[in-house]
């Protein structure tokens, strides 16, 4: 029965289409104004789905001739929301609403667009204009705090990927959301090559209703990026945006100066029964502050030139961009990120019904980096190196530009020597985009065939020269006279990697109305996706002259027989095959119903589980459109709810691999053996377990939300509560050790639960003619808990030598929580120690560790949760004020409850110490702070074991952006033939309020590395001037 109605409907549509084609043309005219009634010039007026288009004149008026079958007009203009109006007879007046508050905003969702009012799922949107304001190098930095439900932990190093979490950490295998750029599927890594100035909008799909159409890839949320395109019948408008900034470090960490260092070393030595190290303390003075030596003031600039417009048959958006950022650690020689972008987004109407879209972007990136966030990072060396030395080497008869320590003989080296000996460079050439055909089979039935692709070539080189860190330093590969130590070689490493990904998608969108008030939006299609990577790398020893200038495999002389020549390669491939469909139903603008189905096949899954089904359903009720609802204050009240299943396939096929490696960089894969004096014999072994039952990780998400607009849309509020339950968690099980050392198989075990709240509150208003205010507040909270891992446990990131792991993924706790001992002050005397549980090696002044399990012995079993690196909640507050030509905008970001593990303190006997040591325990009653135990070279109590004395509250409030601009009045510019001219000054990261004692409490990384500060690259403070020009 229902089928027959459907068919009748199709035929009626068909008939309607045929009549329209034979109808007469007619002329429509009108005027486009802004909310205040002022004319809007250069607005595009077009017939949706047809080729006819025009633009408004200076007086806002337009005239267009259309076939009479066309009943609506689409009006669009930069800064305003698109508006579709029904054609009326006579002079029409079309009032555009500013882009900020319009009810007619659309959001881009999977395989379609939806009006904001009709969305029943959970979507956060960030406009291109907001991204442009921050002028970031990577677009994620602009999402931070602006999109509720998204947590971004920014990185400090130029161009490095931040941590991006959409609605918490439900899974262990990867948290990166899927990134869809103009319909093509990419990854978060690809954000490094998108010029943020090219972005029209970013929509973040958060709940199952919106992500289920991406099925097995949707589990971590989806970031939908839409880049700019041209508009029909619009004169070319050119823009230029330029920005020049100077960056610097915000703060330094308090370390001891030379005489303080000398005194503490003398004390440490004396307490452990050694000799006095510095006889003349007074002569040491303050010495060298190594932090001053490595931090540089570094420039950053960006330029974008763009042209957009269109004729009546094609539109175009062309853009060229250049970004150059030097690093504040080590300066532009050693740390930089330079990017060139060229984009052409073109749309052609090939026939009345057939449209061809070609988006192409070429990106070239050159970058270099310094060792960071590790025990051997430049920052770690700057903090821990000997302050008594001069900057330059003044020891006769020794090579080396910079000084060396006669005392520190391992691990820590002069950071300047390290910087000098750091040589690497990377080059990325990337071409990405899409080829798309759209065919209007019927007026509202569109077929789309899209081929999205990304081809990336990455090549790079690194050089490890022979170095001199001191005659007795174990890392020295040169003798003091500059001769190479026996067995030491310099080494050059080169690699080339190609990544090629494509998504081939074919789908149909059908929109139709039944009985006037029942609108349907249907989409159905299928998709094939392939991701490949292959790499070839080589390294060779003995570069001539020990010099970067000659560092190339072709010039190095190491020969294969001594393994001075080494090669490697890898390749991988992932493939997916998917079918999807969605129905959106809207009854009278009041009741919204949406259903999604996706069937996904993944090459990664076991032979027994190749395909998976995903689905979601959503309901929305626009209360404010009900007849009974009468409120002047409330212009929109919508209730939303959704439930659905998405997945995660972050896993590789699990088969029983044979390894023939002589030696193994993975435990359990070594299969070589060296008989006698012969070269090692190649052996073989089983290196992994198989799992044919491997399947997708299943995520069920419930979402309940509310949208509210008040007082003529001046105030908008949107709030969502969600709960995600993961089952079949992809996890490496902990299996009996007696299974041996082969790589354990990934399996579907365990569950997690994440719940939270996203909120967004906006206010926009205009006072008088000249004063506008717009402000927005976001709130993001997610609580993550691992609820089952079948006794499994993943030990994650750590630090130091010997390596101490401090993060874990474990049942009953938040993913990636900090794990270690709890401290309980200091032992003041022998009686304290006697009273306490047995703690071998403890002396008065040592840290008292808590006997968590109460067994009377302090050992590894007493470790417990000591912190959580992920914030309890984050907030973002943006404010924008405009008065006449002046505009002032600011953005404040707050992260609350994120702990930081302070792991940059090396604490070897001879390394420099931190200022807290000045408050150390010196006798009974002097202090009871576990952070300041007695100081001695011999730490029999292991005061430095992983414990909460290193965990700090990393909550912070950052003034991420503050900008003051002036736009010249248009009357004056017209004489100069300019469309717009704006100057501004901008400050980024001007102020950080935090209790954290390190450089920057924002420390990005994966689940296991976020929040561990091993000397992480801090974000720079920068002051910029900029120019936005339109002509």
């Amino acid at each position: 029965m229902r089928k027959r109605n459907r068919l009748r409907l199709l035929f009626s549509l068909l008939f309607w289409g045929v009549t329209a084609a034979f109808a007469q043309d007619r002329t429509v005219s009108g005027m486009v104004t802004d909310a205040a009634g002022k004319p809007v010039s250069k607005a595009t007026v077009q017939a949706p789905g047809a080729v006819q288009a025009t633009s408004t004149g200076e007086d806002g008026r337009f005239r267009i001739t259309l076939p009479s079958g066309i009943k609506t007009l689409l009006v669009s203009s930069v800064g305003f929301a698109d508006q579709e109006v029904t054609i009326t007879a006579g002079m029409m007046t079309i009032r555009l609403e500013s882009a900020q508050v319009s009810l007619e905003d659309v959001v881009v969702i999977g395989y379609g667009v939806q009006r904001v009012t009709k969305v029943s799922g959970a979507v956060s949107s960030v406009k291109g204009t907001e991204i442009e304001k921050l002028k970031p190098v990577r677009a994620e930095d602009a999402i931070q705090g602006r999109a509720s439900g998204v947590t971004v932990v920014s990185a400090g190093s130029p161009g490095v990927k931040p941590t991006v979490l959409i609605r918490g950490i439900p899974s262990y295998t990867g948290t990166d959301p899927v990134v869809v750029v103009d319909g093509s599927i990419q990854t978060l890594d690809d954000f490094n090559s998108i010029n943020p100035a090219d972005i029209e909008s970013v929509n973040i799909l958060k709940d199952a209703a919106t992500t289920a159409i991406y099925g097995v890839k949707g589990g971590n949320g989806v970031i939908v990026v839409t880049t700019k395109s041209g508009r029909k019948a619009q004169k070319t408008s050119f823009t230029y945006n330029g920005n020049y900034a100077v960056q610097e470090v915000l703060n330094q960490i308090g370390v001891l100066n030379a005489s303080e260092y000398g005194a503490i070393l003398n004390e440490g030595s004396a307490l452990s029964g050694g000799k006095v190290i510095f006889e003349n303390l007074a002569g040491l003075g303050v010495g060298t502050n190594w932090q001053d030596q490595i931090f540089k003031r570094a420039p950053m600039e960006s330029h974008t030139v763009a042209a957009r417009g269109g004729s009546d048959r094609m539109t175009y958006f062309l853009s060229g961009g250049y970004v150059s950022q030097e690093g504040i650690v080590g300066g532009g020689d050693k740390s930089y990120f330079n990017r060139i972008n060229a984009t052409a987004n073109l749309t052609f109407d090939l026939t009345k019904k057939l449209r061809f879209i070609n988006n192409t972007t070429y990106t070239n990136i050159k970058n270099a980096g310094v060792p960071e966030n590790a025990i051997n990072s430049v920052l770690s060396n700057a903090l821990n190196f000997d302050p008594t030395l001069p900057v330059l080497n003044n020891v006769a008869g020794t090579v080396g530009t910079y000084s060396f320590s006669p005392r520190i003989l391992s691990e820590i080296v002069n950071p300047l020597t390290q910087l000098q000996d750091t040589y690497n460079q990377g080059m990325t050439n990337k071409l990405y985009g899409k080829l798309e055909l759209q065919y209007d089979l019927l007026k509202d039935l569109k077929l789309t065939s899209r081929f999205g692709y990304t081809n990336t070539d990455v090549s790079g080189k690194g050089f490890t020269p022979l170095s001199f860190y001191g005659p007795s330093h174990i890392n020295s590969t040169l003798y003091a006279d500059g001769a190479a130590r026996p067995g030491s070689h310099n080494n050059v490493y080169e690699y080339k990697t190609n990544y090629f990904n494509y998504t081939f998608e074919n789908f149909a969108n059908h929109r139709f109305t039944v009985a006037d008030r029942n609108q349907f939006d249907l989409v159905a299609g299928f998709s094939m996706a392939r991701v490949t990577g292959n790499n070839l790398s080589g390294s060779r020893q003995d570069v001539p002259f020990n010099s970067w200038d000659f560092a190339d495999i072709s010039s190095a002389t190491g020969i294969a027989t001594t393994n001075g020549l080494d090669v490697g390669s890898y390749q991988y491939e992932r493939r997916n095959l998917s079918y999807f469909g969605r129905v959106d139903f809207d009854h009278d603008g009041r009741y919204l119903v949406s259903g999604t189905l996706r069937r996904d096949g993944s090459y990664a899954f076991g032979a027994n589980n190749k395909f998976a089904n995903f689905y979601s359903g959503a309901l929305g009720w626009v209360v404010s459109n009900e007849k009974f609802f009468h409120s002047k204050a409330i212009s929109l009240l919508k209730l939303r709810g959704s439930y659905g299943i998405t997945g995660n396939e972050n896993v590789n096929p699990q088969y029983q691999r044979i390894s023939t490696l002589l030696y193994a960089y993975n435990v359990g894969q070594n299969a070589g053996y060296s008989f006698g004096n012969e070269p090692a014999s190649t052996g073989a072994t089983i290196a992994s377990f198989r799992n044919d039952d491997l399947r997708w990780e299943k995520q069920a998400q419930l979402n309940a939300g509310l949208d509210l607009r008040l007082f003529g849309n001046k105030i908008s509020f949107s709030g969502d509560y969600f709960q995600k339950d993961i089952s079949g968690l992809l996890f490496t099980p902990t299996l009996s050790l007696y299974l041996g050392a082969a790589a354990l198989p990934m399996a579907n075990i365990g569950t997690t639960r994440t719940s939270g709240v996203d909120m967004n509150l906006g206010y926009t208003d205009q006072f008088g003619k000249d004063f506008r205010i717009s402000t927005n507040l976001t709130y993001t909270k997610a609580v993550n808990k691992v609820t089952e891992t079948n006794n499994g446990l993943i030990t994650g990131g750590g630090y130091g030598i010997p390596y101490q792991s401090v993060t874990r993924f474990e049942k009953g706790y938040a993913p990636g929580y900090f794990f270690g001992h709890k401290t309980d002050g200091l032992f003041q005397n022998a009686a304290d120690i006697a009273k306490h549980a047995s703690q071998p090696g403890a002396q008065p002044g040592d840290v008292r560790f808590v006997d968590i399990n109460g067994d009377g012995v302090i050992n590894a079993d007493d470790r417990t949760q000591i912190g959580d690196p992920f914030p309890d909640f984050t907030m973002g507050w943006s404010l924008s004020l405009e008065y006449k030509g002046f505009d002032l905008s600011s953005f404040v970001y707050a992260s609350v409850g994120n702990d930081v593990y302070r792991a940059y303190e090396r604490n070897l006997a001879m390394t420099n110490k931190f200022r807290s040591v000045l408050g150390r325990w010196t006798g009974e009653g002097s202090t009871n702070d576990a952070n300041t135990p007695r100081y001695s070279f011999v730490d029999a109590n292991n005061n430095t074991r992983a414990s909460d004395r290193y965990v700090e509250d990393g909550s912070f409030i950052k003034l991420k952006n503050l900008q003051l601009g002036y736009t010249f009045p248009s009357a004056r510019l017209e004489r100069a033939k300019l469309g717009g001219l704006r100057f501004y000054v901008q400050g980024r990261n001007l102020i950080t309020l935090t209790k954290y004692t390190g450089f920057d409490p924002e420390i990005s990384g994966g689940i296991f590395d976020t929040g561990i500060d091993r000397g992480a690259y801090p974000q720079a403070r920068s002051i910029a001037v900029g120019l936005d020009l339109k002509f």
Partner: protein, 493 residues
């Protein structure tokens, strides 16, 4: 016409959907990965898998260190109290179940056993020339891994029929020590039957190695009669004592006339991975025992001052015993004696004894790659002198003792040590037994057997400070294994 379009579309869709499902099939060969399905199809595959079964021997580099550090021979040393923490705990007799070195030994031995089992499991799959002898090596290796386990941990899980798969996790409990020893004897007996007396490559297991190991295994079970008979085969084998004791431990002395079984290491495949330091072809234990920051013209290279001989061990050598200088490097004395070498070094910062393990001290030019990880020094697992002393003990403790034979064997070792017969032992009975035990210490010091000898002979409590009878005879089962597999822990841990 439009209807036709719909039908076409639908048909196209269905065709594509069904035709494409192959798109997501996966074959590891796409990634050039060899899987078990491709393997054990030629004799060469079997040969390679046997070599792979040898590999875990190299991972056990720390076991000899443990054997001395746990005894009265040496202290853990290191940089400070937390450096090589697991060894510190072993040295200080506060070892707990979370000991890194225990967990490594446990995992490595079981990996070796699983590798051997995989070959055992697939024995019938292919026949080829030399298969029987090749399998002799496999069974020897399985016995060796089980012997390391049983003497360190006592009762351990016992499985011999197959390589375990993921579903076998948690399925095994500890088998009794007696059962494990029984299996070791079975494997070694089979190995002795199958193995040739001379093998194709130096370092490959021979019949004599299997006989020596079986003799040792029998000795550990106090089966002295059988041990004596078994060891006698080796004593009468083609071995001889190297005249100059020190030569044994030089590169040129590797796999020499005194070598019955050596775990092979090499610097010919440089290795760089600090995160899995024992998984290359080099011997990390060598780097461990070196003098810190030693510089000058001596043959020695720098190390980490771990496994430092005790002064008490040094004092145990009688005057004229040439083994003392070979076993122990008194660095300060050496520096004074060789002023031309311009030696400088850093005094061991923790538990300094001033003495270093000379037998395995890192030497210049004997490493490559990441210098710490690639020392070539073989671990002299069973030397002919060891066989002589074991045989001497077996004859002395046999149901019908043969002290004359015991004295002869013992005195062959002593004569080499002193360069003459004047120090020959003439006592008999229990005095001879003690003399043999003491001789084992002097001859084999810093070669990793002392702790196990003290336990085996019941001397541990008397000789080792902190040793508790009923507890310290074995080490704790790794806590991880207790937690995962629900194994029982050894008493006292």
């Amino acid at each position: 016409m439009k209807k036709a379009t719909y039908i076409l579309m639908a048909a196209g869709f269905i065709t594509l959907s069904t035709g494409c499902s192959k798109f997501i099939d996966y074959d590891p060969r796409e990634d050039f990965q060899i899987t078990a399905d491709d393997y054990l199809k030629t004799a060469d595959d079997y040969q390679k898998m046997v070599i792979g079964t040898y590999s875990p021997l190299q991972w056990l580099y720390a076991n000899p260190v443990i054997g001395d550090v746990a005894s009265d021979n040496s202290v853990s040393g290191g940089e400070n109290a937390t450096d090589v923490l697991g060894l510190q705990h072993i040295d200080d007799y506060v070892v707990n179940a979370n000991n890194f070195y225990m967990t490594e030994a446990w995992k490595s031995c079981f990996e070796g056993i699983n590798r051997a089992n995989y070959l055992h499991e697939n024995k019938a799959k292919l026949d080829f020339a030399g298969k029987d002898a090749l399998y002799g090596e496999v069974y020897f290796l399985r016995a060796y891994y089980y012997f390391e386990l049983v003497r360190m941990f006592g009762d351990v899980p016992l499985f011999t029929d197959k390589r375990l798969s993921a579903s076998d996790s948690r399925q095994y409990q500890r088998a009794s020590k007696a059962d494990v020893y029984k299996q070791i004897e079975t494997d070694l007996t089979e190995a002795i039957r199958a193995l040739p007396t001379v093998n194709s490559q130096k370092g490959r297991i021979t019949k004599f190695a299997a006989q020596a190991l079986l003799g040792k295994v029998l000795l550990y079970q106090n089966k002295f009669d059988a041990a004596a008979a078994m060891l006698e085969n080796v004593v009468n084998g083609p071995f001889s004592l190297v005249a100059n004791f020190g030569d044994i431990f030089l590169q040129t002395g590797e796999n020499g006339t005194e070598s019955v079984f050596e775990i092979q290491y090499s610097n010919l495949s440089p290795f760089y991975d600090w995160s899995n330091p024992g998984r290359g072809q080099g011997n990390l234990a060598v780097q461990m025992c070196g003098v810190r920051n030693i510089a000058g013209n001596s043959p020695y290279a720098q190390g980490w001052s771990i496994n430092l001989p005790t002064k008490e061990l040094a004092a145990a050598y009688a005057a004229g015993d040439r083994r003392k200088a070979v076993t122990i490097l008194d660095i300060e004395a050496y520096k004074t004696a060789n002023p031309a070498m311009n030696i400088t070094y850093l005094v061991a910062p923790y538990k300094n004894t001033g003495l270093y393990n000379q037998k395995y001290h890192p030497r210049k030019g004997e490493t490559s790659g990441q210098i710490e990880l690639n020392y070539l020094n073989n671990y002299r697992t069973i030397r002919y002198a060891d066989v002589l002393l074991m045989a001497a003990e077996a004859f002395n403790r046999a149901s019908t003792p043969n002290d004359t034979k015991a004295q002869t064997y013992l005195n062959r070792v002593r004569a080499r040590a002193f360069g003459s017969n004047v120090n020959n032992i003439t006592v008999t009975g229990t005095a001879l037994r003690q003399a043999i035990w003491d001789e084992r210490r002097l001859e084999l010091a810093m070669e990793g057997d002392r702790f196990f000898d003290l336990v085996r002979t019941g001397q541990a409590a008397a000789k080792i400070t902190g040793f508790k009878v009923g507890r310290n005879e074995v080490f704790p089962i790794p806590q991880q294994e207790i937690d995962i597999s629900g194994l029982t822990q050894n008493p006292g841990y």
